[in-house]
């Protein structure tokens, strides 16, 4: 721990810290463009120059370690200055050089108002320019449908190149040419393929890379910023939703070291235009085979009529992927009070939640725990598509070295090299007879590709046996991890939105509907089921978008999307996080809990709460862990042995990830034009690769 003096203040700094970080720790501000804590050090923008006592020239503080400093001739502490005339002059000089070729088009630049260069030019630059020659211009590049380029503005910090290479794991961006002709580009204008590419927009300190869907839409100072939680995957990324009026204009990441660091996937970032199209903004009822707009009371009356006529055994509830914990709890309560036992929150048919307690369906080691693991086994999952941010964490772990990784399932490009162990259950069975691993902290990551199938329970049992054989559960380490794909799944499992005694699970409900044994089916935003095969079932759809569920529905009740309500989402590791309303739901749409409360009253089984707060209190009584937001409670690992006792025959079918098209996994994404474009680009490039 070297001690140094920064601007006359003594400070003790950890080994290996850069001078820039040391200055920040001591409270001194150091401007920078190329330096980023999570990327490698480039040292090419020179904006972070500071004066180091004993050196004749200013030093780039980002590229110098505190351990490089030497004491004075009589053993004085090394000294660094950030406020001397020399430093001021150096910064002014660097800024002047940067502005030689940077266009002064701030009024038409999307970055205006949140631009590092703009801010730093104000703070550290000169008020005039001595450069009278022409500025050089650079051709714009095509990087795909998400990232818009204006390359003349580029200051060649190479953050984007380092991000795609190091974090994204795809070597696509590069800097070609040299000197003033240096250009950032992909290889011959190919679209980027990373699922994390949107992050280069945040990383770009100038307006060279900006968001294409957000192009010329708004200025940062007119947006209302709301901190909330993402619902596109089960990672629970922390996001900030920027809205103007009732319109969501863009979504940005927030930093949460244990969840998403500071990255978010493209689906999270660019899905917002899906919040505006295909929306259900008023109730509908089906008459003579056609949906017509109706009032709430009409819609309720129709439901009451059908529910009263049906027996509880002939009714069912299926909850979708985006359902919040409060809603799942409310659905469960409503179903119970109506005597419905066939309720399931697992629309993909996964067997999770039935055995093994909470440990049986959580990502037990936690997401941050990936960085401690020394052996990782991916079973039936493609984390690159199912949870790109989590995949970046795995990649980070592997790059650090000392971690082996194997895959059972699809042989996909995961952005890192792995040992391929086989396609399906047979390979998993060999693991069950494996000797205990030498690794100290081995980890299984089991995806829905292995579980969401008819033999899922048998495979889960097999995986538990393999986990026991290899020893992924130890004292102080539980490496038995389930990777969910649905943001609402863990929360719904936490509040036990599962079939009651003798009730049917999703598969049973769907089979009954097909056979005509089901009179009424409630869909709580469930769209990823086959709705075409329902025979005479009366379908009530409570949801946000005109997707598969709404197309088959007999009554549609319009609900609020994840940015329009406050609900609790529990991510795959069991971390409860609460969303905040960023905008109001459109038209007559209401928050789900309020719809259910009103429906319960119409059905004569009035729920015991009058506000969301009261609902939450009731929910916390059965799932107290949800009350502690943003905290992890290690689940009881002993319950896992229960999983391993399960028997059953496994089929030899290969594990296939449930996410076939990353950009099309939920009704909001399917309604998004941007996501559709991304999907088309991806499929086109896939076709090209196949040729």
């Amino acid at each position: 721990m070297p001690t140094i003096k920064i601007d006359g203040v003594e400070i003790e700094i950890e080994n290996g810290t850069t001078l820039l970080q040391a200055c920040e720790q001591s409270g001194a501000e150091v401007p920078r463009f190329c330096f980023h804590e999570r990327l490698s050090i480039a040292g090419n923008c020179r904006m972070c120059l500071v004066e180091v006592k004993g050196t004749p020239k200013p030093q780039a503080s980002c590229a110098m370690s505190v351990n490089d400093l030497r004491p004075g001739p009589n053993g004085e502490l090394p000294e660094v200055f950030t406020r001397t005339p020399q430093v001021k002059k150096a910064r002014e000089g660097v800024m002047e050089f940067l502005l030689i070729n940077h266009p002064l088009d701030c009024p038409i630049c999307d970055q205006g108002g949140e631009c590092d260069l703009q801010d730093q030019a104000m703070a550290y630059g000169k008020s005039y320019n001595r450069f009278v020659e022409n500025k050089r211009a650079i051709e714009d590049k095509y990087l795909g449908p998400l990232v818009k380029t204006e390359m003349t503005r580029c200051i060649q910090c190479t953050r984007c190149v380092r991000f795609t290479t190091e974090v994204g794991g795809v070597e696509e961006l590069g800097a070609t040419g040299r000197g003033e002709d240096m250009e950032i580009t992909t290889y011959l204008d190919k679209a980027m393929t990373s699922e994390l590419q949107g992050n280069v927009i945040d990383l770009c300190p100038v307006g060279a890379l900006t968001s294409a869907p957000y192009e010329f839409k708004a200025r940062p100072w007119e947006l209302r910023k709301t901190d909330t939680i993402d619902a596109m995957d089960a990672v629970g990324s922390n996001i900030r939703v920027d809205a103007r009026g009732s319109e969501v204009m863009r979504i940005l990441p927030r930093t949460h070291e244990d969840v998403n660091e500071e990255w978010i996937s493209d689906k999270t970032r660019f899905v917002w235009d899906g919040l505006k199209s295909q929306r259900l903004d008023r109730p509908y009822i089906r008459e003579l085979g056609k949906l017509r707009a109706a009032s709430w009371s009409e819609a309720f009356a129709r439901i009451v009529q059908r529910v009263k006529a049906a027996k509880p055994e002939r009714m069912g509830v299926i909850l979708g992927d985006l359902v919040g914990a409060e809603e799942a709890f409310s659905w469960k309560q409503l179903a119970t009070s109506l005597g419905i036992k066939s309720i399931d929150c697992r629309q993909d048919g996964t067997p999770l939640g039935e055995q093994g307690g909470r440990a049986g369906y959580l990502f037990n080691s936690s997401i941050a725990g990936i960085e401690e693991a020394d052996a990782i086994m991916l079973i039936g999952t493609n984390p690159r598509l199912e949870a790109p941010v989590l995949n970046a964490r795995i990649r980070k772990r592997i790059l650090k070295g000392g971690c082996i990784i194997g895959v059972i399932g699809e042989k996909a490009d995961l952005t890192y090299k792995y040992h391929y162990m086989g396609t399906g259950a047979e390979s998993l069975a060999t693991l069950a007879e494996h000797a205990p691993a030498k690794a100290q902290k081995p980890m299984f990551i089991i995806g829905q590709g292995a579980l969401a199938r008819s033999d899922g329970a048998a495979i889960l049992a097999l995986a538990a046996k393999a986990a026991a054989a290899i020893g992924v559960v130890k004292e102080n380490w539980n490496g038995f991890n389930i990777l969910h794909t649905a943001s609402g799944r863990v929360g719904a499992l936490d509040v036990c939105a599962l079939p009651g005694e003798g009730g049917k699970s999703t598969r049973g409900i769907l089979a009954a509907a097909k056979k005509g044994d089901l009179d009424v089916l409630f869909l709580g935003g469930a769209d990823e089921i086959n709705t075409n095969e329902f025979a005479t079932t009366f379908v009530v759809y409570v949801g946000t978008h005109g997707d598969a569920g709404a197309h088959r529905a007999d009554v549609i009740l319009p609900a609020a999307a994840y940015t329009e309500k406050s609900v609790t989402y529990v991510n795959t590791e069991g971390r409860a996080q609460m969303t905040t309303r960023a905008a109001f739901p459109p038209g007559e749409a209401r928050e789900d809990w309020a719809i259910l409360r009103a429906l319960s009253e119409a059905l004569g089984v009035t729920q015991a709460w009058n506000s969301l707060e009261e609902l939450r209190q009731a929910m916390y009584a059965i799932a107290p862990q949800l009350a502690a937001l943003d905290q992890l409670f290690p689940a009881d690992a002993a319950a896992l042995s229960e999983l391993g006792r399960g028997e059953g025959k496994t089929s030899s079918a290969a594990f296939i990830s449930p996410v076939k098209d990353f950009y099309m996994t939920n009704p909001i994404a399917r309604a998004s034009r941007t996501m559709a474009e991304c999907s088309a680009v991806k499929n086109a490039s896939k076709l090209q690769a196949a040729e």
Binding site: I138, E139, E171, E172, L173, G174, A175, T176, G177, R178, G179, D181, E183, T185, T186, Y187, L188
Partner: protein, 263 residues
């Protein structure tokens, strides 16, 4: 220097000849396993030599595949170094005219005019007959013999527009040309013969040299000198600086130190 892009017309494919392949494998073997990408410049250079002096897109991708590198990484290298030609070059010669200051002062502009007249108005364009192409290069390190051009691996120095034109004509005609100075001078020796050490008598053995002995070392200062000097220096200190210096300078060396410190 200008923006460098791939040529719009590209060949179908590229593959190393058997001989170059053997060489490439050996070159890759020079680097530790996993660091094979270090061979990229060497391989690109060899590919350029095989491919009639320029680097095509298939050649770059071939090298990229061989070294397990992303194509963008190869592309970065190929566009960074101007020694890689990204568009076709002349069959007989690709002429790199040095245009950096010494050559420019000695007439490189005139050589460029010759190029523009005889080859093509713009650099990096092949002449109508396909024999030549030209470009302006940065300093090629033969400033003594300015102006000069480089053709393939040889340099032709001390050019005038006339001798340069003759050189081009000779190349077209297939006559042998001699690299180096084109005005008859020997390497970088002075033009028109030697200008120093040219006294004949230096070499006929008649001159005798007198040995010059080293001067004797100065006598050691007397042992008492230092104590005596110190009081003087101290005494002189309050006086104005200049006289103090004078006094010290006259004294022996050790006295200097206290006086200097005082200042």
């Amino acid at each position: 220097m200008s923006v460098r892009r791939l040529d719009p017309v590209q060949p179908e494919s590229f593959a190393f000849s058997a001989e170059n392949m053997a060489w490439a494998k050996k070159t890759i073997g020079n680097y530790p396993v996993g660091k094979q990408a270090s061979a990229v410049i060497a391989l690109l250079w060899r590919a350029q030599e095989q491919n009639a002096g320029w680097l095509s897109k298939p050649a770059m991708e071939y090298v990229g595949q061989m070294l397990d590198m992303a194509f963008i990484r190869v592309y970065e290298v190929a566009t960074f170094y101007t020694m890689f030609q990204l568009s076709p070059v002349g069959r007989k010669a690709h002429i790199q005219v040095c245009g950096t200051t010494p050559c420019m002062l000695r007439g490189a502009e005139d050589l460029k005019k010759v190029c523009q007249r005889k080859i093509h108005h713009d650099p990096h364009h092949v002449s109508a007959d396909g024999n030549f192409s030209w470009e302006e290069a940065e300093c090629l390190g033969a400033c003594v013999n300015a102006p000069m051009v480089q053709i393939w691996k040889d340099t032709y120095e001390d050019l005038t527009p006339e001798s340069f034109e003759k050189l081009l004509d000779d190349l077209v005609a297939g006559r042998s040309v001699k690299p180096g100075p084109q005005n008859g001078r020997q390497l970088s020796a002075p033009e028109g013969g030697p200008t120093s050490l040219n006294d004949k008598s230096l070499y006929n053995g008649n001159r005798t040299f007198k040995r010059v002995e080293a001067p004797p070392p100065p006598p050691a200062p007397p042992a008492a000198a230092a104590p005596v000097a110190a009081p003087v220096a101290v005494a002189a200190a309050p006086a104005p600086k200049a006289p103090a210096k004078k006094v010290v300078a006259k004294k022996t060396a050790p006295a200097k130190t206290p006086a200097k410190k005082k200042r």
